[in-house]
Symmetry: C2
Subunit: 229 residues, 2 copies
């Protein structure tokens, strides 16, 4: 669970986990190049494992790989951003309903612990960490609903949402989120499926409405490239 780790045995899973976490917490920005050698050196492994890790992340939509050019942290376009939230709108509300109908006291306690950590991160002004925890919250609901397949999809969507937020978020006050999560936990505690479903639907719309998804030049980083053609 720790965010930082000096693991003696670094497996592919760990590389994926740590890179993913770094992206979720906005410690690395969309578009950042991930050179195989460099990453390998950081984790103390050969390029073989790094390649494997990057390929997996590509499949999850977190990384873009261009042949012979390498891997980059993905930069979702506004269209892709909309698609991500459209997919979430299809999956999450009903999953939340199912979770409300299944949640045990233990599940609720875990969600509350989660929220506490989120609050604490916000107090410490670690916005990145708070965002990551907020994402984990959504994944946790799918887990409570006991839907492994949807959970995995949601994991990808939450990942990509994090990129979307890094690129298109309007304000910096993520406070509204915490309240929404609080209300959700209440609905889950009382087993009110209808309410939970509605709250999740609204929550997703809220988040989406905080994005500025107008098409813009998110073009080449350097002026030089821009002038080339």
């Amino acid at each position: 669970m720790a965010t930082v780790s000096e693991s003696p045995i670094t497996s592919v899973e760990q590389i994926v986990a740590q890179l993913t976490e770094a992206v979720h917490e906005h410690r690395v920005q969309p578009g950042t190049k991930l050179r195989e050698d460099e990453v390998g050196e950081i984790f103390g492994v050969s390029r073989t494992l790094v390649r494997d890790a990057l390929r997996r992340m590509e499949h999850g939509g977190l990384v873009t790989i261009q042949r012979n050019r390498g891997a980059f942290v993905a930069k979702p376009t506004p269209k892709e951003a909309r698609e991500v939230f459209e997919a979430r709108a299809l999956l999450e509300p009903q999953t939340t309903r199912a979770a409300a109908e299944r949640a045990t006291a233990r599940d609720i306690a875990e969600l509350e612990h989660h929220m506490a950590e989120e609050h604490s991160a916000l107090d410490r002004e670690e916005a990145g960490l708070a965002l990551k925890l907020s994402g984990d919250f959504h994944v946790a609901i799918a887990r409570i609903a006991d839907q492994k397949t949807i959970e995995q999809f949601l994991r990808q969507l939450v990942s990509r949402s994090s990129l979307v937020i890094a690129l298109y978020w309007r304000r910096r006050n993520a406070l509204c989120e915490s309240n929404a999560h609080h209300a959700l936990v209440e609905a889950l505690r009382t087993g009110d499926g209808d309410k939970a479903e509605d709250l999740m639907k609204g929550h997703l719309l809220d988040v989406l409405s905080q994005l500025d998804l107008r098409e813009r030049d998110q073009g080449p980083v350097s002026l030089k490239d821009a002038l080339k053609r």
Copy 2:
């Protein structure tokens, strides 16, 4: 688009595509071991590329990889099978509605061509091919809806559905499917979103009802293993 190919340059994509196709068409059964060397020899490449391909297929749920034991064509449990169809039930109906609202004459023509191929495959008693085409039909709808993210999820779900059908299908007459697809295309042609959504919902329930998902011993292949513990 061709199903068979003797490609001079075999890339990872092609390995994935051909293996996937073979699974979709039930030419290889769930549980089949996929040795890296063996696959590599078939495609004329080294294990490096094969490993990459198998890892990708694992992520798509088509292959299971056990550390130090290798890759196998996945064998979804009844629970996983249900999850796959539950996820489809969330994604496909609304996506079909969107497709109905966007479909061009060209899109419709393509779907019809698709169905014709499916019929033709059935006439030739190539059930595996027909099944694959049937799956492609569902993916095509997501493409028409212009939802890349959902399309990719659906691709995974259709893949896994193919495994589910290989394991749990009750009868051999896949005829009902064709009719359902025909009705769907009609709804898409007339742009009737409501109807298209309903038809898809019903279609998925139909398919699900044709499965025998009772838990059964799909346990260890050998008696020896069963006795070991």
